[in-house]
Structure formats: C-alpha cells, structure tokens
Symmetry: D2
Subunit: 163 residues, 4 copies
C-alpha cells in the first residue's frame, strides 16, 4: 500500500528559519524534533484555502496525535501583502480563530519569498509537509488534503521502525 | 405570517458614517438608497463567524437580488484589534476572498466602538440589518442567520407597497 | 426583479392523484388549498438527491412558513423500483428520517410513470413545484435548489395581491 | 500514542453469518481474510446516520486503502422494519447510492436481532468494526467516527508486525 501523499523519493528536510514563535515556549528547531514525526503546515492568515481548510485541519491533527509521537507546527510563509500579514496581525488571527498550534514566522528573504518557503520550494499556501523521525521529507502537498489520507500517512510514519 | 427576523417595532434607520468606501464608485448614503431595500452586513475581517458565514452569505445576497430592488452593503465595524484591521488589511481581505460587495469603513468613535456601530446599537459581529424602502430598520440580528429566512425577509420588504 | 425559479408562462396546475396520504388527517386536494401558496416536492425514498437535499429542504420549508399562507406537501412519485418503494417502505422512511410533512403517494399509471408525475410532466426526482394562491403553476425545477432562491420565491407568491 | 478507537482488550472476532452477498463474486469468510485488516461496517439502508455518514465513509475507505492490505465489507444488520429492508430493497439502495463495497446480508436470528449483530454484541447502526491481520477485534464503535481517527487506526493495524 502506498499512500498517495508520500513522496517516491524522500530527501533530507531542510531546517526552517523562524523570526518569531507564537503559541510556543521558545524556539523549536527541526533538529530538536528528531525522533518524532513532524507535520509542517505552511499558511498565510489571509489565504482562503488556509483559513477554511488547512488551519482547521492542522488544529485537528494537533489535538488528535500524541505530541510524543507527532509535532504539529504551523509556519507563516507570507509571500504577498507582507505589510498587512505581519506578526501583530497574525497574533490576532491565531487568537480570534482559537489556533493553539505553535506557529513560526518565516524569515523574510531577498525577494518576496521568505527563506523557509524558498528552501522547501513551496509553490503556495496552504502546503502540508510531513517529515519522518529521521528528518527526511516524506510528503509535500499544496492545496486541500483529505483527513483520511493525512491521518493514514502520519500514522504510517509513526509506525516505521526507528532509523 | 411573520418572519422571525423582522422587528415588531420598526424604527427609522440612522445614517451610517463611512471613512472610506471599497468596491464602490463613490460614497453611498442611506438617503441615496431610499426606495430600495437595504441589506447592511456589519463585519470584521478577522471575526471567524463573519469569514465563515456572514461574508459568504452577503456575497450570495449581492449576486441573487436585483440591484434595482436591493442594495447590499458591507460595513467594517472594527471594535477590537483596530491596528491590524485597518483599511489596507481590509483591502487585501476583500481581494483574497473575492468579495465584490461595496464595503464602507465605519468611522472611529470616541472609544473603541466606531460611530455607525454605536448609532445602530450593534452588539457584535456579524450583524445583519435590513432597511425597508422607506428607510425604516426592519431587522437587526447578530450571529448566523439561515439563507431561507433572510431570503424570505428581503423578498417581503421588496414586495411591500411603496410608502 | 425576477426570481430565476419562477416560470415566464404560468399555467393552471393540474390536480394530483393520490392513492394514500401519510402524515395527514385525510385527503388533501389542490382545490382545497386555493388561496394558499402550495409547495409540492416530488421525491422517491431511494433517490440520493432527494434524501440528501430535497427532503431536508422540504422539512425546513414546512417548519418555516406559516401553514395559513403556505401548504407544503410531498408527493412520492415512484417511476423505478416500484416493488421496494411501496407504501409500507415509505412509511418506515418517513418515520426513520423524521419527516412530518404530509406526503401523498402518486397513483400508478399505465406505464412505469405514475399519474401525477405524468400530468405535471416531471422529468425526474427531486422536483420542486410552486403553485400560487390562484392555482397557477409558477415554478417547476428538477434537482438541487438553493434555500435563498426558494425562500424568496415562496415569499413572493405569498405577497402577491389576491387574485 | 493510543488511537481512541482501539479497544484496550482485543478479543477474537467471531465469524459472520451471511445469507447473501451483494457486490461480491462469492461468499467471503473472515477466515479467508486472515492476514489482511478487515473493516466491517454494519448498517441498515433506512438508518439516517448510515445513509448520511457511515455508508459514504465506508466507500471512501474502500477506495483509499489497497485491497491487499485492507478488506472493506458492509454487513446489512436489519433489526427493525425487516419487511421493507429486504434483499431486493438493499440491492436497489446499493445501486442508487452507487455503493460498490461488498455487502453481506446478516442471517435472521431467533428474535429481531440478526445472528452476526448478536454475536458481535452490536448496539445499533451504524457500527464500525476493525479486525486485525490475526483476526482479533480491535475496534467497535457505534455512531459517527471522524475520518482522521479511522484512517489512522486502520493504518496502525496495517503496520503492525505480522502475528
């Protein structure tokens, strides 16, 4: 059985660059999460597909999986309308939409594309990325993803033998 | 038959105060709309009930009714987090969520409550208000409203004999 | 304003033929309803579009409008699988899905198409028909219909001056 | 991580008793499926929770998982209104609702409860049951179940080491 979300050729997941963490006690690096499955949800607070689908799904994943197995993390990858999707606005968004997931703000890049978004070669938002316990990027999907498929894919990564 | 949305005691609808109009050719005053039914949808761009329900319903009303009979208007009544729900942010929101309805930005008041919101005694967002052809406030409802009820209420106001 | 559900050329609504009434105290003829708006919902109990959309919408209409203004009636127009969509099965369906709307069972015809369905020239199920206070057929639509449009159309027929 | 669907104390899954198979080439026994995960969805064709939620979810599971790993099976456990939920009616239901999942008709019991339903101690419909590769009953849940939880639970059973 091959979950259609999973990449045929995993590659090492690059480290993310975060300017500021919200909903978190302190900085969270990818290396700190080695040994756990990582769900990385890249979004923009004024992107309709994120607000209506991606962010609520990320909250469901955050509530469902045991944090000892799965780290669910949002990353605010603003590539347009930077002035109005700033840290202060994001803080209000997370508060009003009751999002408790830790969210890192992607670091601005040399052009409109922020650094983590560039490094992961994301094509837009929302994007869902799964990283396995060994730090390999195993899924990378833009747009709406079915709960059934993402639930099964995450569980498969949880169940893999330790590297 | 009494539509439960309609007020037992209509009162004259107060004029609104708008600092800036978006999606409009110029200022729109309540007096300019005399003779038409007015749907006034008060919202905030980061209020979940507005984004998920009120704004999409307002777009449906805007597309469904003949503009010669019904003027559908949004009013951005920001009463919290003023700094991040400013005109520039609202412009991005309307663009990204493809909202074509004319939207007026309520004028700041002496306290956190903007002037139109205060004058209409709105209790929060989203709020749906219906004004009849004679300028009387006929419905005023906070929260989620069924399409069936609002469609019937607007049609009833359309059908009333001219004042 | 022309509601897109309303027919350009109304015709007198034919009387229906009903073999048995469920959820009703006795037979209900179209002539008995003169002076009221009539919502006629033609369905089959094993038609997915009926079960998922048409029947729940009919229940909403039945609960929303004042019965002094609007008579909401279902008609079970079985044109396929007659053996398993019989009166006994329909009774169970209405009970299990908690449908309280009066439902007439269309009388079998010479072929597979029952008499009322034939007389109204219905093309399938679900079909929504609106009849005005004067007994004229004003709307006839197969498939899914938006609550907003049907609410406004019914209200328009309620509001028309008595014939 | 413990999926809340999974039972604390698995027990051997009893064999089912089927009077007739639909959507299947021939009889399917639980013993024939040893080595695969089994999803057993117990439903009645006129139970609203089944029609609106359980049956569509079962179809999604049937389409998503590889049949070499997971056997998805419906069982029609009629415990009320037996006369109208007979084999012929079920055949029409599956056809009209485009259900392709293999469905066994539970064998009538001494009372209203059919034999498989009795043997599995089901309390009603819809009921979702998961059986692991070794034939142990691992989940048994009545009512609506989230896609996320069921997707993860099935994947976990797929991933368990062979018994």
């Amino acid at each position: 059985m091959t979950n259609p979300l999973l990449l045929a050729k995993p590659v090492p997941a690059p480290e993310w660059s975060v300017a500021e963490w919200l909903n978190a006690d302190g900085p969270v690096g990818l290396a700190d999460l080695r040994g756990r499955v990582v769900v990385l949800h890249a979004f923009q607070m004024l992107c309709p597909g994120c607000v209506l689908h991606g962010v609520p799904q990320t909250t469901k994943l955050f509530q469902f999986f045991d944090p000892r197995d799965v780290a669910v993390i949002g990353i605010h990858t603003v590539f347009e309308h930077h002035a109005v999707m700033n840290a202060e606005a994001l803080r209000v968004f997370l508060h009003e939409f009751r999002v408790k997931v830790p969210v890192g703000i992607d670091v601005a890049g040399d052009d409109r594309i922020p650094q983590t978004m560039r490094r992961y070669e994301m094509r837009g938002t929302p994007s869902l990325l799964l990283i396995d316990r060994a730090g390999m990027l195993r899924a990378h999907k833009m747009g709406q993803v079915e709960d059934l498929a993402v639930g099964a894919a995450i569980q498969q990564l949880i169940d893999e033998p330790a590297p």
